[in-house]
Symmetry: C2
Subunit: 364 residues, 2 copies
C-alpha cells in the first residue's frame, strides 16, 4: 500500500564531524578558509542587514550554554555552543558547537552541522580577513602566543590570505608548542619554536594572541609592542578574560566585530566604555579608515560573532552542492496532509512488518 | 595505526520522525501521553526552578522562527519551532519543530529529537494533565471544536488521563472532521460528528477549542457556554489569534502556564492586563484553588511553554533506555587531545584510503 508517511521532502542534510573533516580535507584546509573568509567579508559588507539580537546564555556553576542566532532576512542560523573549563579533566571538550541553517521563507532547517571544527576554521578565516585590511603591507612573519586548538588554523589562514611565510610559536606549555610545530611542519611555512614571548615577537609584523587563560592576564606587556605591528587578539573573549596590557590598547587603534558584545567580552572590557573603537565592517565598506600608516599599531579585538557562524554555515551549504555523499536525517516531519499528523500512527499500524527503525539516507 | 579521532564518546542519540513514530507506537500513543503527562506534572511542581527567559523570535514577512530554551539547573533544553501559515500552499508544514536535551554540567547535548510529533503529544498531555485538576468530576464527554492536527491527540489523552468515553467533533471543514472520525474509530471512544458548534457542545463537560484561524475569532460565543464546564482553549496561541468571546473569560476562572507569555499569546490578550489569572503550577502545589464547585467555569488558556518541551525531551530520553536501535550521529567533535583539533586533519591525511563518509552508528 502507499505509505502516508512521505519522508523524502523532510530529509535534512547533516554534516557530522567526520564528514566535515573529510570535506575540508578534500577541498584543502587553506583553500576552505580562503573561501570562508570571502563569505565572511561579503556578509560583513551587508552588516546592517543582520539581526544582532544578543545571544541567549544559560549559566551554571560549571559553565555556560549559549544559543547564537542571526538572520539576514533570507537565511536564519543559530549556533549552540558551550563553555565548560573543567570538562578537560574528564576527557571532554571545553567548547563544543553545532549549528543549523534555515530558510526564512519556509522556516525549514536546510542544514544541520557540527561546528566545533567549523568554528575553528571561521575564527581563523575572520582573523586573516581582518588582517588583510589592518596588517602592515608585505607582512611576512607572525608571532603566535598560545599554541592551543586554534593556533594551526590561524597560521594557515594567515599564510593563505596574508601571505606570511614564517610563524614564531610560543606557549607557556612547551608540549603545546611541540604539537603545533608537528602539525605545521611541511605546510609551506617556516616554523620557529620560541622560548619566550619576547623571542616570539622578535621581527614579527603580526602578533596573534590566542591563549586560554581564564582571567585578566597580560600576555603582551606594553613594552613588548613596537610601533607598526598588527595585533590579532582573539583569546580575550569572555567577561573576566583578557590578554593585552591596557596601555597597548591605548596606544593602538582598536577594531571590533560588534561593539556592544566586545565591550563585555573583549580585551576592551578593561577600557572606559566610551574609549573609541571601530566596528570592522565599516573599514570594509570604506566608512572608517583601516591602517593609516606604517607606525600605527592596529588591534583586532576579536571575540567571535554570530554573523561569522552565519557565513560559515552558508559557505558550507554551498560547498555541499558539489558533494554526493551527504547524509540526511529525518528531523522534520512531513505528513502528506499537514492536518493529519496522527496519520503517522495509523500508517505505522498498517505496516507493522516493515522495518521502521531510524531513517537515514544519502542524496547525490 | 591508532586513529587520533575517537568518535565513540561524541555519538549523539538521534530520534528522527520515523523512530519517534515507531517508539510511540511500540509504547502505545495513550500510554506514552500518560507517561509524558506525569513528567510534565512533576516539572510543573518544580516550576520556580526553571529558567523562564523569553523565547527568541526571528520574524519575517512569511512567518516566525523561534528558539525556546529552558533549564532546571541540571538539564538544558531548547526547541526550534517555526510558524509559516503559507507553507501549506507549497506542500510544507505550517509548524515544524526539533529539539535538543543537554547536560548542564558538561554542556554536552545528549539527545537530538524531532519535535513536530513530540510537540503534538506534549500539548495533548498537558491539556489532559491540567483537566485532571479542573474538569468536573466524572466528566464523560468532550466537545472538540477544530479537528486539525492536534485533535486526535487531545481526544486520546483525555480518554487515557481523564477517562472520557465520548468525543463530539466539529470543524468548519467537514473533511477535517471526517479525517478525525476515521483516525479515532476503534480507539475505545464514542465518536460523534456534529454539524454545528452548538451540537458539539451539547452535553459536554469539557470543551476543547483547537482551531487554526489566524485572527481574533469567536469560536465559542458567551451564550453557548453553560455553568460548570471546563474549557480547554489551546488554539489561541499567538498575538492576534484568539478563540473565546471575552465575556466567557470574565465569567470563568482562568488558568495559564506562564502569565507573562499568556498575556501576549493567549486568549487573555483580550483582557485588561490586570485581570486575575492563576499560573497552573500553583494549583498542583496547592498554592491556589483549582475547581471549587460544580457551577464554576474553568478555562485553561494554553499556549505551550518551554517547560513542557523540557519534560517531553526528558521523558523521551528516559524511554530510550529501553530501546536498542537508537541512531547516533557524530554532531560533537571529540579529539583525543582537546588542544589538538587540527589533529583531525593530520589523522585524515594518514588514513586516506579509509572510508570517511558520514559517521552514523547504532548503540544497544
Amino acid at each position: 500500500m502507499k505509505s502516508a508517511v512521505e519522508l523524502k521532502n523532510s530529509a535534512l542534510p547533516f554534516v557530522g564531524v567526520d564528514q566535515m573533516v573529510d570535506l575540508v580535507t578534500t577541498v584543502g584546509v587553506e583553500k576552505f578558509m580562503r573561501g570562508l573568509a570571502n563569505y565572511i567579508e561579503e556578509d560583513f559588507k551587508r552588516w546592517p542587514l543582520f539581526d544582532k539580537s544578543p545571544r541567549y546564555a544559560s549559566h551554571s556553576q560549571e559553565g555556560v550554554i549559549e544559543l547564537m542566532p542571526t538572520s539576514d532576512g533570507s537565511s536564519f542560523t543559530f549556533k549552540y555552543v558551550n563553555g565548560h573549563p573543567k570538562n578537560t579533566k574528564v576527557g571532554l571538550q571545553t567548547v563544543t558547537a553545532f549549528g543549523v541553517l534555515s530558510d526564512v521563507n519556509s522556516g525549514y532547517p536546510i542544514l544541520l552541522s557540527e561546528m566545533t571544527v567549523l568554528t575553528a576554521l571561521r575564527t581563523a578565516a575572520t582573523s586573516a580577513m581582518v588582517a588583510k585590511y589592518l596588517a602592515p603591507e608585505d607582512s611576512t612573519t607572525m608571532a603566535m602566543i598560545g599554541n592551543g586548538a586554534q593556533s594551526e588554523f590561524q597560521a594557515l589562514a594567515f599564510k593563505e590570505i596574508i601571505g606570511i611565510n614564517t610563524v614564531r610559536l610560543y606557549d607557556i606549555d612547551p608540549a603545546a608548542t611541540e604539537k603545533a610545530v608537528k602539525n605545521l611542519t611541511g605546510k609551506g611555512l617556516e616554523i620557529i619554536a620560541c622560548k619566550s614571548r619576547e623571542e616570539a615577537i622578535n621581527g614579527a609584523q603580526i602578533i596573534t594572541t590566542c591563549t586560554a587563560d581564564k582571567r585578566y592576564a597580560t600576555i603582551l606587556e606594553d613594552s613588548m609592542v613596537s610601533a607598526g605591528v598588527h595585533i590579532n587578539a582573539i583569546g580575550g573573549d569572555c567577561p573576566g578574560k583578557t590578554e593585552l596590557d591596557g596601555n597597548i590598547l591605548k596606544r593602538g587603534d582598536i577594531f571590533v566585530e560588534y561593539e556592544p558584545q566586545a565591550r563585555i567580552e573583549g580585551d576592551i572590557q578593561q577600557l572606559d566604555s566610551d574609549h573609541p573603537v571601530t566596528e570592522f565592517w565599516q573599514v570594509i565598506l570604506g566608512k572608517a579608515p583601516g591602517r593609516k600608516n606604517r607606525e600605527q599599531i592596529t588591534i583586532f579585538d576579536g571575540v567571535g560573532f554570530s554573523v561569522e557562524d552565519f557565513s560559515a554555515l552558508r559557505f558550507l551549504y554551498d560547498q555541499l552542492k558539489a558533494v554526493n555523499n551527504i547524509l540526511e536525517i529525518d528531523l522534520i516531519a512531513q505528513p502528506n496532509d499537514p492536518r493529519n499528523l496522527f496519520g503517522f500512527f495509523e500508517d505505522k499500524a498498517d505496516n507493522k512488518n516493515e522495518n521502521f527503525c531510524g531513517n537515514v539516507s544519502q542524496f547525490g
